[in-house]
C-alpha cells in the first residue's frame, strides 16, 4: 500500500508486480538471511565463551595459588608461664608485664622438647621454627589474663613461614643445607609431626593483622581498611560534586562555546592516565596544602579527581535518557526548573548515576599508580583508624607483596587479589541491585 502510493506520486508507476513473484524472491533470499543470522549468533557466542574462558583462567590460577594462604601451620607447645622464665621481679603491673621476656617462654618450651640440642647454632635453628610473632601472642594473653603466671599451658603458636611453606608443600626437602630449612630442622619437624604437634589451622591472622615483614604475620586488614577509608572519601566527594556538575551542565547551563569547552575538557580528563592525577595530588595536596602523607584523605582526594569525569559523563548520559516529556509535563504544570529536576528528572536518572558512580568507585578501588605518588606505598604495620592515619590500599598491598622475596608472600599475593576481587564483585552486585531497586519502582 505504502509502496505503490509513493511510487505513483514519484511519477513512475510501473504497475504492481504479481504477488507470487514477490514471495518467490523473498523465499530465494530466505536461506541467505537465515545463514547470516546464524553466523551472527555464532560470533556472539564465540566472543562470550572466549571472554569467560579468560576469566576462568584468571580465577583458577589465582585461587590455585592463593587458597593455601587461608591456612597457617601451627605448632603446639607447652608454655610454662613461670615468673622465672618471664624474667619478672616482684612487680606485676602492666608496664612490667609488657616488658617481660616472652621470647624466653617459647625458647624454654622448645628446649624442653628437644633437650639434645645444645650448640648455639642448633639452638638458633630450633628457635627459628616458631614465628617471632609468638612472643606477641603470649604477651597479649598474659596482659589479658595476668593470673596465667605460674601456670603451664598447652598452646598452638604459629610456625615460621619456612616451616609453613614446607608443610604446605611449596618447598622441597633438601638433603644438604642449601634450602631455606636445614636438614636438622627437617628432622625436628618430622618429630613434631609424629607427636601431633603440627597442624594446619584457619589463618585468622590474615584477616585481622596489618602488613608485616614476616609472611606468617602479615594480614590484609590494614590494606582493606585503608581502601575502605579511601573509597569513603572518594565517594563522599565525587558523588555529590559529580551529580551536581552533571545536573547543572545538562539541565541548566546554556549551550555555548564555554559549555562546549567544558564538555571537551571533561571528556579529556576521563582519559588522562591516573598517574598524572597522582602527581597533581603530590604537588597540590601534599606540597602545597601540607596534608599528611600516605593518608586515605589524600588518596581519596586524588581518586575523586580521577573518578569525577567518569561520574559526570555517566550522570549526563543518565539525564539525557530521561524522556523530555517528563520535563515538559512538570514545566507545563508550573514547576520551576529546580523542582522539575529534583522531583522528576533526578529520581529517574538516579539508577544510571549510581551505576556510573559505582563503576567509577570500582576503578578507583583497583587504582595503584596515583597512590604510589602520594606515599601510600609505605610499609605500614598498623591498621588505620581514620582518614588521617597512614595506610595503604589493597592494590598497593598486592604490589608490595608481589615484590617481596619471601616465598610465603606468593600465596598472600594471590589471596589479597582474591579479597580485592571479592570487593569488586560486591560493589558491582551492589550496582546491579541498586539499579534494579530503583527501576522496579515503575
Amino acid at each position: 500500500m505504502n509502496n505503490t502510493n509513493s511510487s505513483s506520486i514519484a511519477g513512475n508507476a510501473p504497475g504492481k508486480p504479481p504477488r507470487s513473484r514477490t514471495i518467490e524472491r523473498v523465499r530465494s533470499g530466505l536461506k541467505k538471511r537465515h545463514q547470516a543470522e546464524r553466523r551472527f549468533r555464532l560470533y556472539g557466542r564465540v566472543a562470550i565463551w572466549l571472554g569467560l574462558a579468560f576469566l576462568a583462567l584468571l580465577f583458577v590460577s589465582i585461587v590455585a595459588k592463593g587458597y593455601t594462604a587461608f591456612e597457617q601451620t601451627y605448632i603446639r607447645l607447652e608454655i610454662d608461664f613461670s615468673a622465672d622464665n618471664l624474667g619478672l621481679g616482684i612487680q606485676r603491673d602492666r608496664a612490667a608485664l609488657s616488658r617481660a621476656d616472652y621470647g624466653g617462654l617459647v625458647k624454654a618450651s622448645l628446649r624442653s622438647l628437644f633437650p639434645e640440642v645444645t650448640s648455639r647454632r642448633d639452638k638458633r635453628a630450633l628457635y627459628a621454627l616458631v614465628s617471632p610473632g609468638a612472643d606477641f601472642i603470649l604477651r597479649n594473653q598474659v596482659l589479658e589474663e595476668p593470673n596465667l603466671i605460674g601456670i603451664t599451658k598447652s598452646l598452638w603458636l604459629p610456625a615460621n613461614d619456612d616451616v609453613d611453606m614446607f608443610i604446605k608443600g611449596h618447598t622441597e626437602r633438601t638433603s644438604e643445607d642449601s634450602g631455606r630449612l636445614k636438614a636438622i630442622q627437617h628432622r625436628w619437624i618430622d618429630r613434631l609431626i609424629a607427636e601431633g604437634r603440627i597442624e594446619k589451622r584457619f589463618n585468622s591472622t590474615f584477616f585481622t593483622a596489618g602488613d608485616s615483614r614476616d609472611p606468617e604475620l602479615a594480614g590484609i586488614r590494614g590494606a582493606a581498611v585503608g581502601s575502605f577509608y579511601t573509597l569513603l572519601v572518594t565517594v563522599a566527594l565525587s558523588f555529590p560534586i559529580g551529580v551536581a556538575a552533571a545536573v547543572y551542565l545538562e539541565e541548566f547551563a546554556p549551550r555555548n562555546r564555554l559549555t562546549d569547552l567544558i564538555e571537551v575538557n571533561i571528556n579529556n580528563l576521563a582519559a588522562v592516565p591516573s598517574i598524572v592525577f597522582g602527581l597533581l595530588g603530590l604537588a597540590v595536596f601534599l606540597n602545597f596544602f601540607g596534608l599528611p602523607r600516605s593518608a586515605p584523605l589524600v588518596g581519596g582526594l586524588v581518586l575523586s579527581l580521577m573518578t569525577l569525569p567518569t561520574i559526570i559523563i555517566a550522570g549526563r548520559a543518565a539525564l539525557t535518557s530521561v524522556p523530555p516529556s517528563i520535563r515538559e509535563a512538570a514545566l507545563g504544570l508550573g514547576a520551576s526548573r529546580v523542582q522539575t529536576v529534583l522531583y522528576h528528572v533526578l529520581p529517574l536518572a538516579m539508577p544510571g548515576m549510581l551505576t556510573g558512580t559505582i563503576l567509577g568507585m570500582a576503578r578507583a578501588l583497583g587504582e595503584t599508580a596515583p597512590l604510589l605518588m602520594i606515599g601510600m606505598v609505605a610499609f605500614i604495620v598498623d591498621v588505620p583508624s581514620g582518614i588521617f592515619d597512614p595506610s595503604t590500599v589493597l592494590p598497593v598491598q598486592i604490589y608490595l607483596w608481589a615484590d617481596s622475596p619471601e616465598r610465603g608472600f606468593v600465596e598472600k599475593t594471590s589471596a589479597a587479589i582474591m579479597v580485592l576481587l571479592l570487593f569488586l564483585i560486591a560493589m558491582n552486585s551492589l550496582a546491579v541491585f541498586l539499579r534494579k531497586r530503583f527501576e522496579r519502582r515503575w
Binding site: 506520486i9 517528563i326 515538559e328 512538570a330 504544570l333 508550573g334 520551576s336 529517574l348 515503575w442
Partner: protein, 297 residues
C-alpha cells in the same frame, strides 16, 4: 499551489501533509511570506482571556508564525486546525511560554492576559503556567502513583494547608476528569500503568488540579482510541463551563463537535477564524475550504 493540490489528490490525510511540506516548501513558502496574508474573519472577541497581537515566532532564522493576532475568549473552546507543520503547536506553546524551553526559539509580539504582556521576558513563567495549563499530544503522566501525579501541581504551588484539602482537590480533579470511578481503588499505583485514554485523562486531571484559567491541548486525542476520544471530548465540553480551552486537532469532526470557534492555520499564517459552524459550513478562504473539504492536509 495548484500542482501541489493535484499531486496529492487522493492520498489519505497523514501522508498528504508530509508531501505538502516536501513539495510546497521550496518555492511557495517564499511566495506566501511576500504576500503577507491577512486573517479573514473576526479574531477579536469581547472580554478575552488572552489577546495575542502580531505574534511572530522564529526557530533560529526560520519563521514559523507570521503576524498572528487572535483572542482566546472566556469559557470557550477554540480549535486550531491546519496541515502538519503549519505552526499550530508553536502558537499554542506561546500561550504558556513553553517555547522558552526550546533552544533558538524566539517569540515576538504581545500576548496579553488581563493587563499583563505574558511574552515579556521579565514575567515569571511559574505563575503563568499555573494559570495556563497544558495537555500534551502523547499522554505523559509522571512515573509515580496516580495520587502523586495529581498532587504534584497543588504541592508545588502550595494550594492547600491541610492534607484533607489536598485529598479533596485530588478527588474532585479526578472526578471532573471522569477518571475517579476507574482509579479510586488504586490511587497508589503508577499512573504509567493506566491505558492510554486513562493516562490522558489523568494528565487532564493533573492540569485542572491547579485550577488554571486556560487549558492548552495539543492534539490530546491523536494517540487515543475512539472510545477514549469520545470520553475526552465529553470532558472538554464539561470543562468549558469553567475554563477556556485551546485545542489543536487534526480531526475536523472533533473540531466541529467540541469547539465554539475555529482558527485555520496555514504555513505559519492564521488564514481564517470564526464561529465553528460558519467556518465549516461556509468557509471564506479558498485554502480553508480546500482543507476542510479534505482536498489536502
Amino acid at each position: 499551489m495548484n500542482e501541489t493540490k493535484e499531486a496529492v489528490g487522493q492520498a489519505d490525510q497523514f501522508e498528504q501533509a508530509e508531501v505538502i511540506q516536501v513539495v510546497a516548501t521550496p518555492q511557495s513558502t517564499a511566495r506566501v511570506h511576500r504576500e503577507h496574508r491577512t486573517t479573514i474573519g473576526e479574531c477579536r472577541v469581547d472580554n478575552p482571556r488572552m489577546r495575542c497581537t502580531d505574534v511572530n515566532v522564529f526557530y533560529d532564522d526560520k519563521q514559523a508564525i507570521n503576524n498572528v493576532s487572535l483572542d482566546i475568549g472566556e469559557n470557550e473552546i477554540i480549535a486550531m486546525i491546519g496541515p502538519s507543520g503549519c505552526g499550530k503547536s508553536t502558537f499554542l506553546r506561546c500561550l504558556n511560554r513553553m517555547n522558552d524551553t526550546i533552544d533558538g526559539c524566539r517569540v515576538i509580539g504581545e500576548i496579553l492576559m488581563g493587563e499583563e504582556n505574558i511574552n515579556d521576558p521579565r514575567i515569571d513563567v511559574v505563575p503563568l503556567r499555573a494559570s495556563v495549563g497544558m495537555v500534551f499530544q502523547k499522554p505523559n503522566p509522571f512515573p509515580k502513583s496516580i495520587w502523586e501525579n495529581v498532587a504534584f501541581g497543588p504541592k508545588i504551588h502550595g494550594l492547600y494547608d491541610h492534607k484533607s484539602e489536598l485529598e479533596e482537590i485530588i478527588v474532585t480533579s479526578l472526578q471532573r476528569a471522569g477518571l475517579w470511578d476507574e482509579v479510586k481503588d488504586r490511587l497508589d499505583q503508577p499512573g504509567t500503568g493506566l491505558s492510554g485514554g486513562q493516562q490522558q485523562r489523568l494528565c487532564i486531571a493533573r492540569t485542572i488540579a491547579v485550577e488554571p484559567e486556560v487549558i492548552l491541548m495539543d492534539e490530546p486525542c491523536s494517540a487515543l482510541d475512539p472510545i477514549s476520544t469520545a470520553k475526552v471530548e465529553e470532558l472538554m465540553m464539561e470543562l468549558e463551563e469553567q475554563f477556556s480551552i485551546c485545542i489543536v486537532t487534526h480531526s475536523m469532526q472533533q473540531a466541529a463537535r467540541v469547539s465554539r470557534r475555529t482558527a485555520y492555520f496555514h504555513l505559519g499564517d492564521l488564514i481564517e477564524v470564526g464561529e465553528t459552524e460558519q467556518i465549516f459550513r461556509n468557509p471564506q478562504h479558498q485554502l480553508t475550504e480546500d482543507y476542510i473539504t479534505g482536498r489536502f492536509g
